[in-house]
Amino acid sequence: MKVLIAKAGLDGHERGALVVAMGLRDAGMEVVYTGIRNTPEQIVAAAIQEDVDAIGLSSLSGGHMAQFSRVMELLKKNKFKPLVFAGGIIPDEDVKKLKKLGIREVFGPGSSITSIVEFLKKNV
């Protein structure tokens, strides 16, 4: 399984994204990590070129609605359908909205790597 872990927007806190990336690697997956300050356009271009099975989006600075919806829009436009999941600081009200946009699951603070791995193995 190949997964892209990406941070959109200007937030530069990588700990969560990196810990998940390392966890998925140790669970036997191939993980592409594209660092901080990616635009939605860059994330989707990378996902297509890498032909990933899943994209994990990390956001801690509150810009998730604008940024993630743009990612989903671009994926649709390019007819590319990986499984998209998210993590970070995302209020409950927004989780519902994100799921409506097609983001399959949101892993908030305290989530375990094990649960993310199980989720991916089950749903990809």
Partner: protein
């Protein structure tokens, strides 16, 4: 025990009487949305007994983009207040006289600009710069590895930092010019010993930069400050602060030849650990923050921010930030721990922990020196790898229940509490776009100021006065940074685990 508070190497505290003479500053980090909302929150906190202001800026402001820039999409006013021009800064401090408060600004790559804005507001209020007091974080090295709000590559960034140090030494003597931070690296996952070592190593780099510029160490070192985390292992944290003070005093005296005792005193602000807060059972966070705050006080901090219970998932509401402030006030006025400096000094356990942390930090410092200094250690990826590998080990320990987090991997309750969280107005971004359009129209042509800035950037002139002049004429944060990006280039991260 031969060490004494107020005496070199200051292990037991930088003042002889510590809190008997003067309490630490209660300084709650705040800022969000627009200048008007932030002004309201500042006045609320000051009215309720907060003794110093601490400014949080949104990411576009920190990374040099105006609120209407394409790169600012979705980020305006989210993690702090949006400041694009002098008009915004004036509004933040409306009704707040700058000779009566001290303001700490968490700003790094754009520190010169925000300092310039603050000084311009003081001017407009009729307050002379000699009466102004505060801090700019101004600590770019940790940005490259643990926080991410860098703009320019290291050399021009260090130039801007030294410009501020040099300028303030003469013009704004009450200003703390750098707050060297370990807080963020600790949040990113490093250990207590690494927090000391990496922070002091950053400090060494800044002192070295200023000394190489020709500044006398005793002329600026008394105005350097530090910013530490206070995490959950109670006695280790108390010991950490003691070890850090002891190490820094030796470094300043022996490595840099400081003669003034005030150059050797490690003065610091502390924030309780954000990464210790949980979204599950948020009331538990009040207990965590209380213990962490107590450790910071017993560790001799000069200034303290206590987290609010909802900060694991959102910006704090008025109610929760008030409780965080009361936590400090109860410790200060009811607990009696302020009666004696370094009350845990002499405890076999605390002294042993202090010695151990000092030893471990020295090993890291030595390793970094052998690499050629902290800048090299950052560029070759050593620091990054240490921090994030440590973070991963911690996560694994939590998932194996080798490390217990109450409410998360043990003592879990079925219910997830819903909290009322602080919201950001969705109309903020469009409103800011309108405001900036109007501002640029009203102020007229600023090309001549930008031309002066461009020339100065290419020279070895101190940029601080030039930037002050730009902001006086309502040149925006984004316009200044666009120019400097062209002149200095942009830093490109190339880290790997």
């Amino acid at each position: 025990m031969t060490e004494q508070p107020g005496k070199f190497p200051f292990t037991r505290g930088i003042h002889a009487t510590m809190y008997r003479g003067r309490l630490w500053t209660m300084r709650q980090y705040a800022g969000f949305g627009d200048a008007r909302e932030t002004n309201k929150r500042y006045r609320y906190l000051l009215d309720h007994g907060q003794t110093g202001l601490s400014m949080a800026f949104d990411l576009p402001t920190q990374i040099g983009y105006d609120s209407d820039d394409a790169m600012a999409l979705g980020e305006v006013g989210r993690v702090g207040v949006a400041i694009s021009s002098l008009a915004d800064m004036e509004q933040v401090f409306s009704g707040i006289p700058l000779d009566k408060v001290s303001t700490s600004m968490t700003i790094n790559a754009t520190a010169s600009i925000l300092l310039a804005l603050y000084l311009a507001v003081a001017e407009k209020q009729g307050v002379p710069w000699s009466k102004v007091s505060g801090t700019v974080q101004n600590d770019i090295l940790k940005e490259y590895i643990a926080r991410g709000t860098y703009i320019f590559p290291p050399h021009p960034s260090l130039r801007l930092i030294a410009d501020i140090v040099e300028f303030c030494a003469k013009e704004v003597p009450g200003w703390n010019t750098i707050s060297v931070g370990g807080y963020h690296m600790r949040e990113a996952g490093c250990t207590a010993a690494q927090e000391i070592a990496f922070t002091l190593a950053d400090g060494i780099t800044y002192v070295q930069t200023c000394v190489e510029r020709g500044l006398n160490v005793d002329d600026f070192a008394p105005r350097l400050a530090f910013f530490f985390n206070c995490h959950t292992n109670f006695f280790e944290e108390v010991a950490k602060f003691r070890a850090a003070r002891r190490l820094w005093a030796g470094i300043m005296r022996d490595r840099f030849g400081a003669k003034n005792e005030r150059s050797m005193m490690l003065r610091f602000h502390t924030q309780t650990a954000g990464s210790s807060l949980t979204a599950q059972q948020p009331d538990n966070n009040v207990v965590r923050t209380t213990l962490e705050a107590l450790a910071a006080v017993l560790g001799g901090t000069q200034s303290l921010h206590t987290n609010s219970k909802d900060e694991a998932i959102a910006l704090p509401t008025e109610e929760s930030v008030l409780l965080a402030l009361r936590t400090q006030q109860i410790i200060a006025h009811e607990s009696g721990v302020t009666a004696e400096p370094d009350p845990l000094g002499g405890s076999h356990y605390v002294e042993a922990q202090t010695d151990r942390l000092e030893r471990e930090a020295r090993e890291y410092l030595s390793k970094i020196d052998n690499m050629g200094g902290m800048l090299k250690a950052i560029e070759n990826g050593y620091v990054y790898k240490e921090i994030y590998r440590s973070a991963y080990e911690h996560q694994k320990a939590v998932e194996k229940k080798e490390k217990i987090i109450v409410g998360v991997n043990e003592f879990v309750s079925g219910k997830q509490l819903k909290l009322k969280t602080q919201q950001i107005d969705p109309k903020l971004e469009p409103r800011r776009r309108k405001e900036l359009r109007a501002l640029r129209k009203k102020r007229g042509n600023v090309q001549k100021h930008l031309a002066t800035l461009k020339k100065a950037a290419g020279s070895s002139d101190n940029l601080t006065p030039v930037i002050i002049d730009c902001v006086r004429h309502y040149v925006t944060v984004g316009e200044i940074c666009k120019l400097l990006r062209q002149e200095f280039g942009e830093y490109r991260a190339n880290h790997s685990i």
